[in-house]
Each structure stands twice: as C-alpha cells, then as structure tokens.
Symmetry: D3
Subunit: 136 residues, 6 copies
C-alpha cells in the first residue's frame, strides 16, 4: 500500500511539477477547475499527460510545445487547450512571433479557418500576458 | 517593378528548391504525380506551401517539420502526407526517435488511435529509408 | 393523400413522443427553436433521428444515449448537442457519474481536449439540473 | 397497413429513382453491398438521403452534388463516398474540370492534404470512367 | 518578365477586389482584424485564397460559395468563417433558402449536429442582414 | 526501486489482463506489433487505456465498449481501432446486431459516410469471426 502510495505519488508529483513549470498558476487553476468536475480526469492529465509524457526525454519542452500547439491548431475544436498551450509555449521559451509562425505553417495543412481561429486565440493569450506585464 | 518581376518566378523557383531540400526526389515525385491530376494544385503546393510558407524565417526547418508532423498526426486522415513529412523531418535533421516522441506527445491531444496509426506510418517510412540504406 | 398523411404522421408522432420522453420540454424547445430557422431540418430530426432511429429495437434507450454521448464527445465540435444528449441520457436513467465515465473513457480515443471540453459541458448540464431541483 | 406500405414505398421508390438517376448502376451496387451488411442502413440512405433530401427543390442536382463533393473533401475520412459522389456529380452534368475546381477551392478551407487526397480519388474516378468509355 | 512583373502586385490587387466583391465591407473588416494579429496570414488569405483561387475560372462565384459553405458546414469547427461565407454566398446571388438547402443537404454527410449548428449561424447572418436592411 | 517496480507492474499487469479479457490474442498481437515500433506507446496503451481507464468502475465493460465503438465511428479516421474494438465489444457480450445498431445510431450524429465505412469494418470483423468459428 505504502509502496503504491509512494509510486502513485511519483507520477503525480512529477506531473504537478511540470504542469507548474510549463503552465504556471494559470495551468494549475485550469486543472483545479477541471478537478471540481472530475477529480480523476484532472489527475490523469497530471499523471499521464505531464507525469508520463511531458517528462519524457527525446524532445525539448520547447519542441513539445511546438508539437502540441500545432496539433491543437489542426484539431480545430480545442481553443481552450490551444490558448493554455500557447501560454505554455511562451512560458518555456517560444516567442510570440514563433507561435504565429506555427499557426501560419498549419494553414497549409489544416486550412485557413483553423489558422485564423488559432490566431484569434493567440491574440487573446498575448493580451492576457500584456495585462500581466509579461514581455513574452 | 523589376523586383516584383523576379518575384513571380521566385516563388516557384524558391518553392521547388525547398521541396527538393526537404523532401528530396521522393517529394518531387509526389508533386509530379499530383501534377498529372491537377497541374494547378501541384503548383500551388510548390508556390504557396513551399515558396511562401516554408521559406519564411522565424522557425527552423526542423521546427517547421515538427509542427507539420504534429498537425498531420492530429488530422488523422492524412497518412500519405504524414509519411511524406516524416521523410521530410528526417531529411532536415530530426531523428527517428524524435518522430516517435512527437507521435507519443500527440496521443494526449488527438487520442491513441491517431497516434497508433501515425506510428504505423512512421514504421513504413523507416523501412523505406532502411531499404534505401539511409541511417536516419 | 389521407394514407400518406397518416403515415407521415406516424413517424412524426412517434418521433415527437420519443423526443419528449428522452429530452423533455428542454429538447422540444431546442427543436422548436431550430424549426424557426428551418422547419424541414427540425422535422427531419424528429421524423428520422427520433421517429426512425431512436425508436428502433436492439439497444435500450440508455445504451443509445451512451453511444450518442460518446460519439458527440469524439466529434468535439458539437457542444450544444452534447449538452442536450447528456440531459437526455440522465433523463433515461444514466447517472451523472456514468456521464463522466463515458467522457473519461473517450479521453483515450479522442484525446484530453475533447474530454475536458465535454466535462465542462457536463458540469453546465449538472448545474442546470440542480437549478431545476433534479436529483439526477 | 396497405396505406403505410404505399407511403413507405413512396419515399423508397422516389429515393431508388434518384439514386439510379444520380449514381447509376454503380451507386445501386454500392447500396446493395451495404444492404448485405445492414439492410436498414441501406434503406435509410435510399429513403432519407435520396427520397427525402435529394428530392427537395431549392437547389439543382448539379448544385447538390457540388455541395456534397465539397463537404466530403472537407470531411477527409470519406474517400469511398467522395468517389461515389464525384461519379454522381459527373452523371448529373458536372465536368471533370469542375470537380478539380471544387477540390482546389477546398484546399483553402480544409488544407492541402484533404485536397490532395481528394484529387487522387478524382483521378481514380476519371480512370474508371475512361475504362467505361465515358467522355465526362 | 514584364507580365510577371505585373503579377506580383496583381495577386494582391485582384484578391482585394474579389474580397470586396464577395464579402463587402464586412469581409474587409474581418481580414483587417486578422491583419492586426498577423499581417502575413491576412495577406496570404487575400493573395492566395482570393487572388489565386477565387479568381480562377471553371466555376461561377455562386458555385464556389456553395462549395465553400458546404465545406465549412462539414468542418464543424469554423463557425466564424461559415458566417462570413454565408454572407459572401448571399452577396453573390445565393438566396437564403438556398443556404438552408446546402445545410440540410450536409446533414446527410456530416451529421445533424454540424447541420444544426450551421443553421444557427445562418440565422445570425440573416438577422445581421435584416438589421442592415438587406432583402437577401 | 522494488516498490516502484511492483507498482509499475500493477497497472501493467492489470492492463494486460484486461487487454486479454476484452481483445483476446488478437488484441495482444496488435499491441505487440505496435510495441515493435514504439515499446513506450504500446506500454501506455496497456497501462493507461486498459490499466487505468478500462479497469474503472461505474460502467460495465459492455457499456465501455458501446461508448468506444460509438466514439470510433464518429472519429471516422480510426478504422483499425474500430475493428479491434468491435471484436472487443463482441468478446464482452455485445451481439453483432447491437454493433450495427450503434453504427446506425451514429449515422444521425456523424453522418452516413462515417456509418457506412463503419459498417464495412463491422462486416470484415464478422467475417474474421466466422472464419474462426465464433458464433458471436
């Protein structure tokens, strides 16, 4: 039992740490809000998405965020997650100009509507960050 | 005027050069095959996708390929293009292990079926490259 | 003519009955609202979706709602219909906990963004029902 | 009973007639094949898709086929249906060049992979028709 | 060379002209708004989508708008673009009744949720046009 | 270390057991094949999809398979996974007729092309099972 508790804690602790590192207080708030609907779904996001996947080697966090933002632009129906991960990408070193480059790049593959809606989400993120006095 | 004069030809020339640089003879064959169905659609891919977008600054070619592969994994219905761009990513310096990392990363956002089908496409690409004696 | 009128009425009557049984006054209001835009589209939903499909044997209404909620979670772009069918699922005997289980299950196949957005829609439905004093 | 039989027959007869008119023997074979898996699903396609929808006024059959082909290009995962409806569009007066125009038009909205895959399907249709000695 | 010289400027000029012709001041405002986020993305829409694609021969503008509206209904996640192109379709001669026919037609291929959400967007467009005193 | 090994083993062992129970030797072969491309992706499917999610209480395995089949029909681009989970659904007590009911139900929400392609996948599964002498 204790063993399990400890191991269970490992993925969770590692995930929480990465969630905070990538998404900051905003991301923690999003997951906490989701946790009020479904504690388990929120836990899987921390344990699996962050504890298992984001903590993998083989790509830099910056590269993982480029891949995630690109994938969310292509999905088209995931604007809240796209905004959250644009914040995340900027938090781990991407520049705003680079976010727009990813969006422009995806216009070729997912079409201009997906890219245009993503650009609108990007602007909202940029304004949120301006309001918080963030330069990037 | 003269500048623009050059520009008309530039997009096509620049696009062809980048198509060859990223996708090599295989990519040129794909576009040539498409050109036999619709010369204009093939030309737009070279002029717009490669001449306009891929030639932009702001992201490295390696980063653009990470974004493209991620977007195509998320789309789910674009296996031929995914295979073509996995080749392209490997041609501009991504390693096979990194392609699999992008695919694993996308399982979180597009689901395991999209990731599993992308992994099968990746294996086909790796085998094609093995058959051609490519180390990467 | 009379014959047709009667038969036409059959699918419509059967559909209206099932619409009311599954979705209650809320569902009738949604279809009525759609009918103000396109009476025919609203009629097809009642005749075909409810009169033909939902009235089929072979699955219980509870199972049909599980399938519908799961399909709408996977589609990702159908939040109004997802909310409407979460109401419907709860009306025909699913429990709130089971709706969340379907959503968690779909995170594996459609990804966490689709599941997270569905969870937010589920919470809105639960609150609407709380406000109406519904226990389930 | 007889009344219902007759009315049931109306939608079915009207649908079968339109199916034959738009898709010819090839379309009838597709529906017949589907009918061997699920007679009801095949019947709904004839009754609802063709008997109810295609038989509506307000758009010409040519315009309905333009809309259907465009929608199927955008869906991306419906190549068999896209091929079937490219045949249908050509059967009701669209020219091959116009099919390619629809596909090129959709590259803007659904992206180049969806358009490229649609172009490959179009070529297969054109070859099938060449083999049958059809000029259009 | 001279021909090409003109071409550079031509795409943008031709695109702006078509954008105004199809979408009017509303469309110009949308692109201008997008231009404040990403001037290049806005320029590609004018140069490529309108300057290259919409200016092609082979389909009437009315037919191109039918195809675009149908494709956007099928995409499901592009409501702002759907609304913009319903305006465009009405501006180039489609009637409101025909827009609803396209939406009803797509219910068969993209499902009733995509069609229902499109119908809601259509109503918003119709009301915007009513408010502007437009008969069509 | 041992503790972690044991706990790590827990999710994996539980997942493997459920994978075998739901999908049998065929499912194990699919995961093994995926494991030759990416051992980690295959492990996440066993640990997370089966060890975490399928092992949850709150829905019967039969209900989880109904939800999964419905979600995969709606996704449209996941035919290999759809076939695998139709097998799984039949293995945990669904009848073939019920699989077709789920597919017919989804025609309303995901459209007839998604349903028709799913029906073709279902027939392939039924034939595979006939060849193996399975009654269900």
């Amino acid at each position: 039992m204790k063993a399990r508790a400890r191991k269970g804690a490992d993925r969770l602790v590692r995930g929480k740490k990465l969630l905070r590192h990538i998404h900051g207080a905003g991301g923690e708030a999003v997951v906490a809000g989701l946790g009020q609907i479904s504690p388990d779904l929120a836990r899987y996001i921390v344990e699996f998405a962050f504890g298992d996947i984001y903590s993998r080697k083989g790509l830099t966090l910056r590269e993982r965020q480029i891949a995630t933002v690109a994938g969310l632009v292509a999905l088209g129906h995931a604007q809240p997650q796209l905004k959250s991960h644009i914040h995340g990408a900027l938090n781990v070193g991407c520049r705003r100009k680079e976010i727009l480059e990813i969006i422009i790049q995806l216009a070729v593959y997912a079409g201009f509507p997906a890219a245009s809606n993503a650009a609108v989400s990007a602007r909202e993120v940029f304004r949120e960050r301006d309001a918080r006095g963030l330069r990037n």
